[in-house]
């Protein structure tokens, strides 16, 4: 039963019922990517480059093909060349020419772990033995891992054809800088001339992985008639279909992709790795092929989030008003262009109303796996630098860090550096929510320090389809096409129940495969409850329109004479006639006589996503001997729009905050001198565990999105933006040293403390 009702005007929205897929997920019944099998299936495995940069001179697969039990071997020559064509994927952009090279290396291997061949065999042991029999002759090239090194004029160049875009005149020589971008508002130089305080600082961050617990997995079955079925753990099965169709020269209608339950994604499952290989292996072998990545493969060869260098310069008046701001971001793209440097630049100062802004970004390739989206892609990197610098400004001016941000906070009507003018937003309310919180009003414990930081994300809408069906007994099925990654079935069912005026338990939400519902953009951009939610609401409205027509037919009145209220058709007024209300079940029972099945449909390109803002407050202590940080108290506040199912909204804030804490304190890709990843496992890539953390308190600030019928804003991504700086600002205040490089791991912190306060000589 509903409890904790936060919206008296609604019956279901704002309640916390059990999620529709709950029982399946606590009993082991729910089927994730690796849980699907077909009769006669083969095991597919990938041979990966041991070198970070090498020409592939030749590949001889004959011995592997001759091994008993091997049914197919594929290399790049099995995939057609692709045009140099950029297509959107989630919140990132990708080039088909690059994708086909990322799923299977062609001329060169560009990172350690880059696929060079794949086999399908009757058992995993045979598949592994076959990989060992493939002879690849590499001509090893010098490699480059670090962004700063990759930008040097004498750096090894990954792509001979790559001329930096966005520079005039265009360079004549290829380099690793794919693109330069720039955002300008006002006159930064004039702003700095007016400033009374100027702070400038350089920051770095390291590549981090989304760390979803479920490795990538796909099962493909290709038929002799050209039809293909795929089961894949993905944030976007329509995306999988689209990419595979392009990469394999098939029509989209020939590929039917069923999304499995998905064991986390956070942006990392918006691209394809295994699916095209599994399809091609299935086509060649005539058998279903199942492929799963090991954790090591996930780390080495799926897309992490980039690291980067950020330079920040902020000028302010003594009263704290910021008059000028600059930012330069150099970001890892991995082996192919397309880092989230654009959003990093756009988000850098989006929280603040500043007249003069100049931001420059560089998209830089190096011999690392191609980066993928990770929760608010790019934003945490620029926020780390900007929010740390603001903390320095607050300290220098002797201002409260929240008051400094309130003084400069973006509001409705604020124009951003990237040109958009905000509609109703809730940054001020969110800052005030922290300021008025019991946490903030209570001073940190002795020996502890407090950090504050804010963060922004756009949120997105995009293409969405939904359908609603009434069964003959009046129960309802709502069909949409976005994998449920964190409780979206519940939020969609709640909105459908509210709209229709029926009980939540009467609505069954279903996630359909690519052949069973119209196109839906990926589960990403914090879009599902907002945009797919709007499609669901519209499909229910379409169904209600039909229900009114049917009630009209039963009563022999015009549909205009029928209203829909509390799950019943009623006469619009006494002039229509004296009719007893008709329930959904009563109308459904007579559907055959009144025109057949009763369904509703909706398809739209949703615009008007409401941006979100978060403010986090962190209390911690630092052990000066070991550099170990203990977080004592943590509160995340966010303008979430209407919290449709508040528990899952809180969950987004808590999960995002903890990923950000990991990013701040421990997580990083560590490469050795040979360009190989040294920590491709959960033991050495240290994600937060339960004992590392305190409670994560949440404050839901419900500033409604005026463009959505229920005021929904996306909530999933904002929470990862503030934590690195909230933690960093607390650490810097605790030890009196400004930390500028992530992660602030124990070795790095103890080194910083040692440098600042030389120890007494041991003797």
């Amino acid at each position: 039963m509903p409890d904790g009702h936060s919206h008296p005007k609604y019956k279901w929205i704002g309640t916390r019922p059990d999620r529709p897929d709950g029982a399946d997920k606590v009993t082991g019944r729910a089927r994730f990517g690796a849980d699907f099998n077909l009769p006669g299936q083969l095991v597919g495995k990938v041979l990966r480059s041991p070198h970070p940069h090498a020409i592939i001179a030749s590949i001889d697969t004959s011995k592997a093909e001759a091994l008993a039990g091997v049914k197919a071997v594929v290399t790049a020559k099995d995939f057609p060349e692709q045009a140099n064509l950029i297509v959107p994927t989630g919140e990132m952009q990708v080039n088909l020419r690059d994708i086909t090279r990322n799923v299977m290396a062609r001329e060169k291997a560009l990172y350690e772990g880059h696929p060079v061949a794949a086999v399908a065999a009757t058992t995993e042991a045979v598949a592994r033995a076959a990989l060992a029999l493939i002879e690849v002759r590499y001509e090893v090239l010098p490699h480059v891992i670090d962004v700063t090194d990759a930008m040097k004029p004498d750096a090894p160049v990954l792509h001979d054809h790559m001329i930096t875009e966005g520079v005039t005149p265009a360079p004549t020589k290829a380099s690793n800088v794919a693109k330069r971008i720039e955002f300008k508002k006002g006159d930064a130089a004039a702003g700095f001339a007016e400033a009374e305080v100027v702070i400038e600082k350089d920051y770095t961050t390291q590549a981090v992985h989304q760390g979803y617990i479920e490795p990538h997995a796909a099962l493909a079955s290709a038929s002799e008639d050209g039809q293909v079925q795929v089961w894949s753990t993905t944030q976007g099965h329509f995306q999988v279909r689209g990419f595979c169709a392009k990469l394999l020269n098939l029509e989209t209608s020939q590929i039917r992709v069923t999304p499995t339950e998905i064991g986390g994604g956070f942006g990392g499952k918006t691209v394809v790795y295994l699916e095209p290989l599994a399809i091609k292996l299935s086509q060649k072998s005539g058998r279903p092929v199942k492929m799963t990545m090991t954790r090591e493969e996930v780390f080495r060869a799926s897309g992490p989030a980039p690291g980067g260098n950020v330079k920040v310069r902020i000028g302010a008046k003594k009263d704290g008003r910021i008059v000028a701001a600059e930012c330069t971001v150099e970001m890892q793209a991995g082996a192919f262009p397309g880092s989230p440097v654009g959003p990093a630049c756009m988000c850098a100062y989006a929280c603040y109303d500043i007249d003069n802004i100049h931001i420059v970004g560089f998209d830089v390739v190096s011999n690392r796996p191609k980066v993928a989206a990770y929760r608010a892609p790019g934003a945490p990197i620029s926020a780390w630098a900007v929010e740390s610098t603001l903390d320095m400004l607050a300290l220098q001016l002797g201002m409260d860090p929240i008051d400094l941000r309130l003084k400069n906070a973006a509001k409705k009507g604020t124009k951003t550096a990237y040109g958009v003018t905000f509609n109703t937003i809730g940054l001020v309310e969110t800052l005030e929510a922290i300021k008025n919180s019991e946490h903030y009003r209570t001073p940190p414990k002795p020996g502890h320090a407090r950090g504050i930081a804010a963060g922004f994300w756009f949120n997105v809408g995009a293409d969405s389809s939904a359908a609603s069906h009434v069964g003959e007994d009046g129960s309802v099925t709502v069909i949409s096409g976005n994998p449920d990654i964190g409780g979206s079935r519940a939020s969609l069912a709640l909105m459908a129940a509210e709209e229709l005026g029926v009980d939540y338990e009467k609505v069954r939400p279903v996630i359909a495969d690519t052949a069973s519902i119209g196109f839906n953009f990926v589960t990403g951009g914090s879009r599902v409850t907002f945009a797919t939610g709007l499609a669901v609401v519209n499909s229910v409205r379409d169904m209600i329109r039909e229900l009114k027509v049917r009630a009209g037919k039963i009563w022999n009145v015009d549909p205009e004479g029928v209203i829909w209220e509390n799950g019943m058709a009623k006469p619009a007024g006494s002039n229509v006639g004296d009719f007893e209300p008709l329930s959904l079940a009563q109308i459904a029972a007579q559907a055959g006589k009144t025109g057949g099945p009763i369904n509703g449909h909706a398809q739209l390109n949703v615009t008007g996503a409401g941006p979100g803002f978060g403010v986090h407050c962190c209390d911690l202590s630092v052990d000066a001997d070991t550099g170990i940080v203990t977080i004592d108290r943590y509160t995340a506040a966010q303008d979430v729009g209407t919290a449709i199912h508040p528990s899952y909204v809180e969950g987004q804030l808590q999960g995002g905050a903890v990923q950000g804490i990991g990013w701040a304190l421990n997580e990083e890709y560590i490469y050795n001198a040979k360009g190989r990843l040294d920590n491709p496992g959960f033991l050495d890539y240290r994600m937060p565990v339960a004992s590392d953390l305190p409670k994560i308190e949440t404050i839901l600030v419900e500033v409604l999105n005026p463009t959505h019928p229920y005021g929904v804003r996306g909530v999933g991504e904002v929470p990862i933006v503030p934590p690195t700086a909230a933690v960093g600002n607390a650490i810097s205040r605790a030890i009196g040293i400004r930390m500028t490089d992530l992660p602030m791991s124990p070795p790095r912190l103890s080194e910083a403390i040692d440098e600042a306060t030389p120890r007494m000589a041991a003797d």
């Binding site: 009993t27 082991g28 339950e261 986390g264 954790r295 959960f682 409670k695």
Partner: protein, 161 residues
């Protein structure tokens, strides 16, 4: 390589299987016996998604060789509910939104049940340390810890009633 014949009891039912000498218990559960509720997140004992009970001891089934299960009693997530009645932990995890994607959930439930069998009155810190071998990337652990604490209290209440 000759297969090895293993006799066990899985979720209360006598179960025999043939396995390769180098097959893990997790692979046998998932691939040979169709018990796919135990998940492989890492294959190296770091994430806890494959947690099962072997002779009432909590283990990562990816670190146990299947032939080692000879004569042992194995309990997996599939055996936690009593028929159509969810275990209080299962019920509470759903009620309190202690899962988002759900991939780590079977492991957390098996580990939590093992904790409450050993320590019916854990402090929050004890719960956090006991569950430190289970990775969850979605929830930030908060609602998981709350659910376990709540079930512990309820089970103590029921035991005292």
């Amino acid at each position: 390589m000759a297969k090895i014949h293993v006799t066990t009891t899985i979720n209360g039912a006598p179960t025999e299987f043939l396995c390769d000498p180098n097959q893990t218990l997790l692979d046998v559960l998932r691939d040979n016996l169709g018990l796919t509720g135990s998940k492989e997140g890492c294959g190296s004992g770091d994430c806890g998604a494959c947690s099962v009970m072997v002779d009432d001891r909590l283990v990562c089934s990816c670190l146990v060789l299947a032939p080692e299960a000879e004569g042992m009693k194995i309990d997996t997530i599939e055996g936690m509910a009593d028929g159509d009645k969810l275990h209080p932990l299962q019920k509470k995890f759903v009620e309190m939104a202690a899962l988002q994607c759900g991939i780590c959930t079977p492991g957390f439930l098996v580990a939590s049940k093992a904790l409450l069998a050993k320590n019916p009155n854990p402090t929050e810190t004890e719960v956090r340390y006991w569950l430190a071998g289970n990775l969850c990337r979605c929830t930030g652990y908060d609602k998981i810890i709350n659910a376990v604490m709540e079930v512990a209290a309820e089970m103590r209440g029921a035991a005292n009633a």
